[in-house]
Subunit: 393 residues, 2 copies
Amino acid sequence: MYDFSYCAPTKVCFGRGSEEQLEGLIAERKCKCVLLHYGGESAVRSGLIKRVRWALERAGAAVVELGGVKPNPRLSLVNEGIKLCKDKGVDFILAVGGGSVIDSAKAIGMGCVGGGDVWDYYCKKRVPQGTIPVGVVLTIAAAGSEMSKSSVITNDKTATKCGVNAELSRPVFAIMNPELTASVPAYPTACGCADILMHTLERYLTGGETLKLTDSIAEALMTTVISSSKAVMRDLSNYEARANLMWASSLSHNGLTGLGNDGGDWCTHSLGHELSALYDTPHGAALTAVWGSWARYVYKNCLNRFHRFAVQVMGVRPNGTCGELALKGIEAAEEWFAGMGLPTSIKQLGVKPTEADLKLMAEKCAANNGGSKGSCMKLHVEDMLAIYTAANK
Amino acid sequence: MYDFSYCAPTKVCFGRGSEEQLEGLIAERKCKCVLLHYGGESAVRSGLIKRVRWALERAGAAVVELGGVKPNPRLSLVNEGIKLCKDKGVDFILAVGGGSVIDSAKAIGMGCVGGGDVWDYYCKKRVPQGTIPVGVVLTIAAAGSEMSKSSVITNDKTATKCGVNAELSRPVFAIMNPELTASVPAYPTACGCADILMHTLERYLTGGETLKLTDSIAEALMTTVISSSKAVMRDLSNYEARANLMWASSLSHNGLTGLGNDGGDWCTHSLGHELSALYDTPHGAALTAVWGSWARYVYKNCLNRFHRFAVQVMGVRPNGTCGELALKGIEAAEEWFAGMGLPTSIKQLGVKPTEADLKLMAEKCAANNGGSKGSCMKLHVEDMLAIYTAANK
């Protein structure tokens, strides 16, 4: 095992009607001017945005609104938000939505402190020095950004998707009412389930040492995500399943499921990000489209972990060689993806990259990761191209 | 499942040599005067206290020392600490030790703010209003106080052991170097393992609703504690086992393993506290001495949970009725205790209470809990007496 530091200070308010705690949380912080940041029309239509605005006003805060965040959130809107916050003297950002809205809010928060171009943080030219505090009202279980230190933004001028990890960007509070996710349709729900599992799987399938307790917690989380995903796909209004997925989304990316490990692999995320950057595909679907091809490319270098994943998480019966079981585990994971209607190839994503497109993605993926990436196996540009090519079926 | 709030903001610095981070942590907080609070002679003899004192001084803080904390920490020493902190203008308390030292430090911290008698907080007459911040250098894996909101103190004038739960008392940082626990002898190590398991078991064996994800994480933690305890009892210097137990101690009592549950049962703790208050017995051993008798008294009211515990945690083969399996699980847990050299009865604790003593403990136990306690089964004074009597063999 490796040494680690860990601090996940986000205050979680979980359960039915928990958004009613918003007024108290904002009043307690004595916020003067809040940026109310959100995505598309569904939160407006449902009346949630209106209720949130009232709560902010009752708490004595002025409210500035910036909606329109899209999946794979754009740098252009982030820059608009930064300007707005500076112009209006915003001292708190409230993200009402899922990972895209929260990541965008974090970017705005960090961009308001220290000057310069916020994109510098995302392409690792500078390290963020501070942030306007961010709070969350979560409306979809997926990215885990509500407790994480991560933010991923797409530069819409260059079609580049990059992430920053900064402890200071962990939200100060997260309001999580599973009822608010009951209206999320099947496909984005499935994408969310895949994203939740993948945040732990990237940490779990690693070539380095691990901590036994972390491994067993990771397995507990992944098996719960799989069983809850099946329950929620049968009945989208299943509160218990929605609650388990929502809490799993937070625990899967707040760091807990990788403590004592080497940091994890994260190649599936990097490969998926290039697909999303080029084709604007949903994040969770981009991950499942490449995961199987990545797994078959690397598993022999990391046989024990893939074997363990097969038996402990996917429930593969332990009859066979390590290699056979590892492959059965990969197949079982793909069957789970497919069972939720998620793609297991790039073509199933509905896009048709040419060979030149695949080469471009591999080159950008390598460049965005300093030439190579991975823990199960260190991938270079030619490996990335081979995986994209295998996945392009 | 129930709604919940959760915030575990303690910064964890985990791994070999992590006490070297102390200077930076204290300097960052700009502490002027630190109370260095510790227990017996072992931390002095090992040179740890000297190294810690130097680190505090290098960080620019004046240092006031108060050693001598004993297991089942005493109110008299807490009051001495409060006076010392007020006299010297202490603005930070560093606890170097295990649960007793940390609980004592929390009591001193809370007692310095708001005036009045600190014992009022422990007998629920008043609610703590603030605290001097507390940091921890952990030297034994057991109580989990390094991340918890709990503090348990014994009033040495009245032989009463009571606890307070206050979010504000969670330590601000916890330095956890498993190497520092390698010198803990077998018996206190075993007591620690029992205490760690019990903090999750009290939350897990409950009559109320639960959250699936929490259940599976609780099971993952308990199975890891059991396997790591066996490894550490075979070789007390096993770093991996010590590390798993240390991290389990924190996760088992920081709240994580009970989220969405009804708060848990906690009768074993209450019954054990009276034994420790009267006979000054080690906390972990007092718990194992009464647990089996408690479990056999209540399990029929909570059959599904005991059944699940037997199969998922104790590895009982699922052949038999629910009731049979539940009993086998109780037996297996007692075998685990006994295998570590821990008592499974009050007599094995080395004390010989009379019938009058048992009655006194039952009456105090009921009185300290407002007349009754429990989730698997609500116990009143006659139930408590019956359990003490059954355990007194």
